[in-house]
Amino acid sequence: MAIIERPAPTAPILLRAPVTPSQSMGIVRRPVTSTGWKSWVFTVDHKKIGIMYGVFAMFFFIVGGVEALLIRLQLAAPDGKILSADLYNQMFTMHATTMIFLFAMPMAAAFANYFLPLQLGARDVAFPRLNALGLWLLVAGGLILNSSWFLGGAADGGWFMYSPNSGPVFSPSNGVDFWTLGVQIAGFGSLIGSINLIVTILNMRAPGMTLMKMPVFCWMILVVQFLLVFSLPVITVALVLLTFQRSFGATFFDVAQGADPLLWQHLFWIFGHPEVYVLILPAFGIISEVLPTFSRKPLFGYPFVVFSGASIGLVGFGVWSHHMFATGLGPISVAAFSIATMAIAIPTGVKIFNWTLTMWGGKIWYSTAMKFAIGLIVLFTIGGLSGVTHAVAPSDTQQTDTYYIVAHFHYVLFGGMVFGLFSGFYYWWPKVFGKMLNEKLGGWNFWLMVIGMNMTFGPMHILGLQGQPRRMYVWTEARAGEGFFNFGFWNRVASLGSLILAIGILLFLINVVHTTRKGKPAPLDPWDARTLEWITTSPPKEHNFDRIPVVHHLDDFFHRKYQEDATTGTMVQIATGEQLVRDEEANADAHIHLPSPSYWPIAIAIGVGTLGMGVVYGVPIMIVGVLIILGSSFGFVLEPSVADDIDYDPPMSGGQDTKELAPLG
C-alpha cells in the first residue's frame, strides 16, 4: 500500500482472517511494497495490471508480427525456401494463436482494466485479486504456448486445430499439447477477468451513472465479457476432450471408433465466432470514445450503438456454422446459418452509419487518434462488405479457405481491431503515462500502417479469387496464371506491403521510446475530452479519484466544461479540464481505502502452469501443481482482506459493495 494507509479496522469487519489479522495461514504477511518489481508482481491495482496486460500484449504483438513477416517472406516467390513445410505450419498456427489469445484479447483487457474503473468513476475493480489472478494465468498460458518452440516444436494444426489432424497420430510432437494447455489456462484467466469486469460494471458505477449514461466503451466491454463468460466454457469442453484424447488415450476424435470430426468444429466455432466479436468490439468501444471527442459532438444515436453492440453479441452465438459451409451440413442448416449471418451485418452497418454521422456537423480535429479511428471505419467497412459476399453460402464455397478469407478477416481484425487499439494508444497515452506521444511521428506511423496494411491485405482479395488457397507453405507457378492477375506479382506486393506495415509499427515503438525519454508532459485535458477518466490527474493517483464524481449526463466531463448558451444555442466553455481536476483535488475525500497487494494470485498461476506442464511431462509434476494450487488457494481465501470494508467503490446506494469472495469466483 503506497499512498493510503491501511484503515483502522472498523466494525463490522467482513470475513475477517481466522488467524492473526495481518497474516494468512499464520505465516505470510500481505506484501506492502510500493516500489520496485514487487510492487508490480504482487499488485492488485487495476492500473498496474492494465499496464502489465499492455506490455505483455505488445510483446506478443511483436512476436506474432515476426511470425507473420516470415510467412510473407516465404510466400514472396513461388516454392519459397525460407521455411520448411513443418515450420511453416507451426508458424501460421502460432501467428494466429498468438495474435488472438496473446495480443488481441490481452490488449483489450489492458484497456478494459485500466479505463473501465476510470470511466465508471470507481476506485478499482470489483475483485482486485481475481483481476491479478486473471493476468498471471494469461502469462502462464502464454509462456506454456510459446515454450513449445523450444521443446520439440510448436503446434502445427492451425489455430482452429481441427480434429482428427490435431490427434496424436497426425501431430505427434508435443506442440498441440502445449497449445491446448496454454489456451485452456489463458482461457481460465479470461473467464475470471470477465466475471470480474461484469460485476464491476454492474455494481461499481459512480452515483448517477445509469447504464444508459455509461460510456460506449464500457458498454462494448460489458458485451465482450458476456460473450467470454458464455463462450469460453465451450472451448474448455473442446480442449478437455482433445487433451484427454492426446494425453490419456480417450477416443473422442477417433474416427475408427465412430467419432464424428465435426463435433470439434461445432464446439470450436460455438466459441470461435463469439470470439471474433470479442476481438472487434473493444476497438468499436475505443473509437466510439475517440470519434465524439475529436468531432466535438456526442456519439450519434447512442442507444442504437449500444443496442446494436448487444445484438451483435447475441446473434453472434447463432452464426457459428458459417465457418462450416463446406463441411456437408446439409442445405437446411446452411441456409439457416447463411441468413443469420446476413442478419448480423445489419447491426454492424448501424454502427458504421452512426460513427459516420457522429462526424457530420462536427468540428473535426485530425489528431493521430482520430486518424486511426477514421481508418478503422473505412477499413472495417471493406472487411464487412467482403464478409457479406461470403454470407452468400454458395459464393462462400468458392472463397472459403482461400486468401480472399485471409484478406477479409485481416481487414476486419487488422484494419478494424488493430487500428482501434492504436487509436486508443494515441488517445489515452497521456492519461496513462502523463506524456504526449509525438503527433508528427504518429502521422508517419498512421500513413505507413494504412499503406502497408492495404498493400499487404488488399492483393489477397485478388489472390483468393484467383484461387490461391490458405495455409500452404508454397504456391506454384503451375497454378499461378498469367497476366495482370497472376499470383507472382500480387504475392510480391503483399510481401512488400508487410514490410511497410512492419516499419509503420516500428515507428510506433520508436515513438514510445522517444516519448518516454524526451516527451513533454501532457496537459491534464489534452483532447478536450468528454468522459470521467479525464477528471483526475495524468497518470491517475493510485486511488483514481480524489472525490467520487456524481454523474448527471452522458459525457459528464464535457458537460462540466461546456454549457449551451440559451440564446444562441452554441456551446460555451464555462471551465477548463484543468480547473475541474484542481477542484476535485481541493475537495478530496478523507479516508480512502484501497486493497493491499497479494502474493497469492501469482502463486496460484504458477501452480496452474505447473499442473499444465505436468499433463505433458507426467503425473508427479501434476501433483506438485495441484499442491501449489491448493496451498495458494487457501492462502488466497484466508488472507486478511484489508479490502473488505473498503470504500474504494462508490456504492450505488450505500453499502459494502466490493468485498472479495475469491474462491467462489
Partner: protein, 398 residues
C-alpha cells in the same frame, strides 16, 4: 486523404470485377466451366457489385464529411444525440438489400444441393496427400463400366453429364475443390459428403485441397479432366484393361522384377503376376497409415503423380494438353505420357528419394506413433540402375 481512400476503394472494387477477366488462371473462381459453378457465379455477380456500390457510397459520404466538417475554427457544434428517423431508415435499407440477397442465396443453396437427377457417380477419397477416385460399376451415357475403376490425381468425367462425387477421407479432413466446376466440399472421415459437378466442354480444370490436412497440405493437388462422349468411352475401355507384362529381355522387364521386389508392397498394378505366375497383390494397409496408395495400373494415362504435384509430362508436352482447344483436347489427353514426353527428372527424383521432393512422414525411425506405418512414400534406397529399370517399366503402364 479522402481522395486516396476513394481511389483505393475504387481500385479494390474494380480489381475484384476485373478478376473475372484473368487469362489462363487455372483456379480462377470467376470462370465457371459447368452448370454448378455458373450458378455460383451468378450469385457472385449479384453480391460483389452490390457490395462494391455500397462501399463506394459509404466512402464518398465519409470523404465528404471529412472535408466539409474539418476544423476551420467553427464553434463547438450543437450537442445533438442523434435522429431516430435517420437511424431506422439506415437500419431498414441494409435489411431490405440483404433480404433480397437472402432470397437468392436461399434458392441457390437448395438448387446446388440437388442430386436426384444425377447421371454418374464417382467415389472420391482423400488421404494424406493425394486423392483416389473409384468408379463403381454403372452405365454412363450408354457406356458400361463393368468392373470398378480405381485411379488417382486426375478425375476424368464425361462432358455434359451430371456427376455426383461421394467424398470421404481415410485419415484427416480434406476438401475437394475444382473452382471451374463447383465450390468446395470437405471430405470428412466417417462421413460421405455429396458434391455435384458438370463440365460443359472438354478440358482440364485445376484444383487443390483446401482444408488444412497436415504437413504436405500445399502439395495435395488434383485436376478434373472432361472428355467428350467418344473419348470418354475410349478412356473407360483403356482403364478396364489389365497391365501387360513387358516383352522378354527388355529393360522394362527387369524393371518389372524390381517392382515386384519393392513397389508391390504398396502399389497395385492390376494383372501383374509374380514369378510363380500367381497374381501380385499389394498390401498398402500393412505399410501405410491411411491404408491406401495410388494404383499404378494406368500411371501413364495420367499426366501427373504424387498428389498431382509433379508432372509426368515435360513442360512443352504439358502445355500442349493444357492449351488444347476443346475440340482437340480429347485426343491430346488420351495420348497419355509418350516416351518423348516423359518428364524424367521428376520421376527419377521421386524414385531416388521421394521425401526429399515432397514433405511426408516417411522417416522409418519415427513410426512409433502411427503403428509402425508410413504416411507417404519413404526413400527406398534404390540404385541408379534399378531406377533406370523402373522408369522403363513404369513407362509401359499406359
Amino acid at each position: 486523404m479522402p481522395l486516396r481512400r476513394i481511389g483505393l476503394g475504387l481500385a479494390a472494387s474494380s480489381a475484384i470485377f476485373l478478376a473475372g477477366c484473368a487469362r489462363n488462371a487455372p483456379q480462377d473462381t470467376w470462370q465457371p466451366k459447368g452448370e454448378n459453378a455458373e450458378k455460383i457465379n451468378t450469385l457472385q455477380w449479384m453480391v460483389f457489385p452490390l457490395a462494391g456500390i455500397v462501399g463506394v457510397a459509404v466512402f464518398a459520404l465519409i470523404a465528404y464529411i471529412l472535408w466539409r466538417f474539418r476544423d476551420r475554427g467553427q464553434a463547438i457544434p450543437h450537442q445533438s444525440h442523434g435522429n431516430p428517423a435517420v437511424e431506422i431508415t439506415l437500419t431498414i435499407i441494409p435489411a431490405l438489400i440483404l433480404s433480397v440477397v437472402g432470397v437468392f442465396t436461399f434458392k441457390g443453396i437448395f438448387e446446388l444441393a440437388q442430386t436426384n437427377d444425377t447421371q454418374m457417380v464417382i467415389n472420391v477419397t482423400g488421404q494424406q496427400w493425394w486423392w483416389e477416385y473409384d468408379y463403381p460399376a454403372q452405365v454412363v451415357n450408354g457406356v458400361e463400366i463393368t468392373q470398378p475403376i480405381i485411379t488417382s490425381g486426375q478425375l476424368v468425367i464425361p462432358t455434359g453429364t451430371k456427376v455426383l462425387l461421394r467424398e470421404t477421407s481415410r485419415d484427416v479432413i480434406h476438401s475437394y475443390w475444382i473452382p471451374a466446376l463447383n465450390g468446395k466440399k470437405d471430405a470428412v472421415p466417417g462421413r460421405i459428403n455429396l458434391l455435384r459437378i458438370q463440365a460443359n466442354k472438354p478440358g482440364i480444370f485445376a484444383g487443390q485441397c483446401t482444408e488444412f490436412c497436415g504437413l504436405s497440405h500445399a502439395n495435395m493437388r488434383m485436376e478434373a479432366v472432361a472428355l467428350g462422349p467418344e473419348d470418354f468411352a475410349a478412356w473407360i475401355a483403356n482403364q478396364q484393361r489389365n497391365a501387360e507384362s513387358p516383352a522378354q529381355a527388355t529393360l522394362a522387364q527387369e524393371g518389372e522384377a524390381v517392382f515386384l521386389n519393392q513397389c508391390i508392397r504398396c502399389h497395385q498394378v492390376n494383372g501383374l503376376k509374380k514369378a510363380d505366375g500367381t497374381a501380385a497383390i499389394a498390401a498398402p494397409d500393412e505399410n501405410v497409415y491411411s491404408g491406401a496408395v495410388p494404383n499404378l495400373t494406368h500411371l501413364m494415362s495420367r499426366n501427373t503423380f504424387a498428389g498431382a504435384k509433379f508432372d509426368l509430362l515435360t513442360a512443352d508436352c504439358r502445355k500442349n494438353v493444357w492449351s488444347a482447344s476443346p475440340d482437340e483436347f480429347g485426343s491430346a489427353y488420351l495420348k497419355g505420357v509418350t516416351s518423348d514426353c516423359l518428364n524424367q527428372t521428376n520421376l527419377r527424383g521421386w524414385l531416388r528419394n521421394a521425401p526429399a521432393m515432397k514433405p511426408m512422414y516417411a522417416d522409418p525411425t519415427k513410426l512409433a506413433v502411427s503403428d509402425g506405418k508410413y504416411r507417404g512414400m519413404p526413400n527406398l534406397g534404390l540404385s541408379e540402375s534399378d531406377i533406370d529399370k523402373l522408369v522403363a517399366y513404369l513407362s509401359t503402364l499406359k
